[in-house]
Subunit: 411 residues, 2 copies
C-alpha cells in the first residue's frame, strides 16, 4: 500500500515555518510497519489540486495536511472535491462539530467558520475536539478519480496529532491489514556513542525474525526503536539490555531529565547543581520537568573563579594549583554545592566549551564532572567532547544527568 | 522561473531526521525575490530518478540535496545522469577536491570515496571545502531532457549552507536576472506581540514601492524581513523604527543574548542572574554566547524558598508576607544577586511556570521580573504568560534579557 504525504501551506515553502508534519507522520507509521513513499509540500491554492491529481493514480493512501481554516487561502476541501469528482456540500455533522467547539469556548461562531463545514459529498467527517477545523476521510470507493483513499487533516500540530491517533491510525491498520499485536517499543540509551551501540547490537537484532529496527541518535543519546509483534520486540529488547542495560534510560519515551526527577522523588532526595561550562543548562533541563521543585532546590552557575571561591567555597589554592578545569576543582564544586544547598546529591561540571580558552594540556572540549553524595565518596570523571559550544553544553549536561540517574537507582 | 526543491534520504521519510533543508532554502531564496514552487522528499534509490523525470519538464531550476556520499545508498549523481541523458564519468576536478579534503585531515582517502567523483558528463563541479562530497551543476543547455538547470548539493547542513551561498546564489541571481541592488534586511524585535507588531506596521510597509515583507514570530520575538533594493529597504526600516525602535534588538540576525553580551562588554559591566521559574535558562542563554565569561560571573538558580533566603539573603518576612512570587521578592532577589556577585547589573525572575502551583490571586503564568543596577533604583515589572511550561520559560528569559539590553544601552 503506497502512502504519500501532501503538506500544504505557503509559509512552509517561504521557510518561515518548519514543516515537522512529514517527519512526524513518518514516525507514527513506523509502529504499523508502514512507510511514507513520498512527501510533497505545495503552497496554498491551485497547486494543491495539481499535486493531488498527480498522486492519486500511484497511491493507495494520501494524507493531506493544512488548508482547512476559515480564510480565503484555505482551499484544501475544494481541491479534494474537484480531484475526486464530488460536489462540495455543507456537512451537517461538520457544522455541528464547529458549533460545539465555539460553544465550549463560550464564543459565538463567526460566519466565516461556516465555510469549514463545506466538504466533498460522500466524505466522512473526522471530529476535531481541539480546534475549529474538522478533518475528512474519503474511502477509496468514493474516489471517482481512482481507488485511492484520502485523509485530510488540520495543520496545527495540537489538532493534527490527536486526530491522527484517534481517526487515522485505526483506519490505516484496517486498510493495510496490520497485525493487531504489532507495535513499537522505544528504548532510550545514554552514555554510549551511536556507532559503538550500532556495532554492539545490530547484527544480533537483524537475526530476530519479524523484527524491524530503527536508530535515532542525538548528541549524547541513542534511541532504539523495535517494531514487530510482542515476541519479536521482547527478543530485541533482551539483546539490547544484554549489551547496554546499564545505559538504558527509559522504555516509554521518557526523557533523561524526567527519569532523574522521578527517581530522586522516589528516594526523597534533593539535588543541587554546580555549573561552570554548562552555564545553567543542567538546572534548566531539570526544571523543564513539571514538579521539579520537589527535588531541586539550589543551582549555582559559578562561571568565574571568584564565584567558585565565594559561593561554593572552592579553596583558592586548588584554583591556583590545578586551574578551574581540573579534577580537584570539580570535586570541590560538587562538595561545596552539596553543603551550601543542604542537598543529598550534587553534580558539578567544569570544562572548556570553546571556541576560546583551550591549551595544549587542556584543549577545547575537556571537561571534569563530579558527583557528591551525602555520606558517600565523591566520584569524578574526565571526558573529551570537542564538538562545538552548543553540542558541548548539551552532551555535558547529558553526562551530568546520567551520573545523577545512576546514583539514584543505586547503579 | 519555476524552482523546485528535491530532498533525498530515507531517514527524512522515516522521521528519524527532520528535513530542515526545504525551509532553509526557502528562506535563502527570499532576498532574491525567488520562491520554491514545490518541495518533494523521496527515499534513496530509484524514486530519485522518478521524481526528477516528473519535475524536469515543469521547472526552470531544480535544487537537489543529499545522496552524494560514498555508500551504496548514495545514488543521486547516477540518477541525475540517467535523467539528463549523460554518461557517468570520473571527474578529475571532483577527485582532486576529495583528495585535497583528506589531505587537510591528514588521512588517506578510502577507495569508496572515489565514487564521489563520478559525475554526469558536462556537469560543473561545485567545490566542497567542508566535506568529501563535491556538489554539481548542470546548466539548462546540458540537460537533454529539457531546458531545466539542476543543482545537486550535499545533505549535511555544514556542507550545504556554505556551498549554497558560494555556488548557488550567484548562479541563481544570473539565471533569474536578479537586480544586483536587491537584498534583504532582517530586523529582530522583542517585547511586542506579533499581531500588535503586524497591525502597527503592515499597512505602511505595504505602501512602499518595490518592498516585499516577511514576518517570522517565535515566543517572545518577531523578525521582520525587508526585501527589495536599498531605497525600499531603507524606507521600510524607517517605518518599523518609527513604530518599534525601542524594541529593535538587531539588524543583522544577531540574537538577543549576543547583543546583551556585546553591550555589557562595551560598558565593562558584569551581570548576575537570580532565577526561580526560569530555572537556569537565562544563564544558559547568556553562556551560549562565546566570550560570555567576560561579562557573566555568577548565576543563582534559587528554586526553593530556602535558596532565596540562604543564597540571596531574601528576608524571611518578605517570603512569608508576600509569597515567593511577588514584586517584593523579585526585587530582593535581584538586589541580593547584585551584592552576592559584586556585579553591576542583576536580573531576577520569579513566577509560576505551571502546570501546578497557581492560585486565584496568582494564576499559572504570573511572573515578576526585577533589574537591579549598581548605584541605581531597582525596576520591577509584572507579566502574565500562561503559555505552557516550555514557552513560559522561553518568553520569561527573553523578557529578562531584554531588561538587561535596555539598561546596557541606557534606554
Amino acid at each position: 500500500m503506497r502512502i504519500e504525504v501532501l503538506n500544504t501551506g505557503t509559509e512552509l515553502l517561504l521557510g518561515t515555518t518548519l514543516n515537522t508534519h512529514g517527519a512526524w507522520i513518518g514516525r507514527e507509521l513506523l509502529p504499523l510497519g508502514l512507510r511514507v513513499a513520498r512527501q510533497t509540500t505545495v503552497p496554498d491554492g491551485e497547486p494543491i489540486a495539481d499535486a493531488l491529481r498527480e498522486a492519486v493514480p500511484r497511491c493507495g493512501v494520501i494524507i493531506v495536511t493544512g488548508g482547512l481554516g476559515p480564510t480565503s487561502d484555505d482551499v484544501t476541501s475544494a481541491a479534494v472535491a474537484e480531484v475526486i469528482g464530488a460536489e462540495l456540500v455543507e456537512d451537517a455533522g461538520a457544522l455541528r462539530s464547529i458549533e460545539e467547539f465555539f460553544a465550549r469556548l463560550g464564543r459565538p461562531m463567526a460566519e466565516s467558520n461556516r465555510k469549514q463545514a463545506m466538504f466533498p459529498a460522500g466524505a466522512e467527517v473526522l471530529a476535531n475536539p481541539n480546534g475549529t477545523a474538522p478533518g475528512l476521510y474519503v474511502a477509496a470507493e468514493n474516489n471517482r478519480a481512482g481507488g485511492c483513499a484520502l485523509f485530510v487533516l488540520p495543520g496545527p500540530p495540537g489538532e493534527l496529532h490527536p486526530m491522527f491517533a484517534a481517526e487515522v491510525v485505526p483506519r490505516l491498520r484496517e486498510l493495510a491489514g496490520v497485525d493487531a499485536s504489532r507495535g513499537m517499543t522505544e528504548l532510550k540509551f545514554t552514555g554510549i556513542g551511536e556507532s559503538d551501540f550500532h556495532q554492539g547490537v545490530d547484527q544480533a537484532l537483524a537475526e530476530v525474525a519479524g523484527l524491524e529496527v530503527g536508530y535515532c541518535a542525538r548528541p549524547g543519546e541513542v534511541d532504539l526503536r523495535l517494531i514487530g509483534d510482542e515476541e519479536a520486540r521482547r527478543a530485541g529488547r533482551e539483546i539490547a539490555e544484554d549489551g547496554f542495560g546499564r545505559q538504558l534510560v527509559s522504555d516509554d519515551g521518557t526523557s533523561l531529565e524526567e527519569v532523574v526527577v522521578r527517581k530522586l522523588r522516589e528516594r526523597g532526595w534533593k539535588l543541587a547543581t554546580a555549573e561552570s561550562c554548562t552555564g545553567g543548562m543542567i538546572a534548566s533541563r531539570v526544571t523543564d520537568v513539571p514538579g521539579a521543585s520537589a527535588v531541586f532546590t539550589h543551582g549555582f552557575v559559578t562561571y568565574a573563579n571568584e564565584a567558585k571561591l565565594g559561593v561554593l567555597g572552592v579553596a583558592e589554592e586548588l584554583l591556583a594549583e590545578h586551574g578551574a578545569v581540573s579534577e580537584e576543582v570539580a570535586r570541590a564544586m560538587a562538595e561545596g554545592a552539596l553543603d551550601a544547598a543542604g542537598a543529598d546529591v550534587a553534580v558539578a561540571a567544569t570544562g572548556i566549551a570553546g571556541p576560546g580558552g583551550g591549551s595544549e594540556e587542556k584543549p577545547v572540549g575537556t571537561v571534569f564532572l563530579a558527583l557528591a553524595v551525602r555520606g558517600g565518596p565523591t566520584q569524578v570523571v574526565k571526558r573529551m567532547h570537542p564538538r562545538g559550544r552548543s553540542v558541548f553544553k548539551r552532551v555535558v549536561s547529558q553526562a551530568a544527568l546520567e551520573m545523577v540517574r545512576r546514583v539514584s537507582i543505586g547503579g
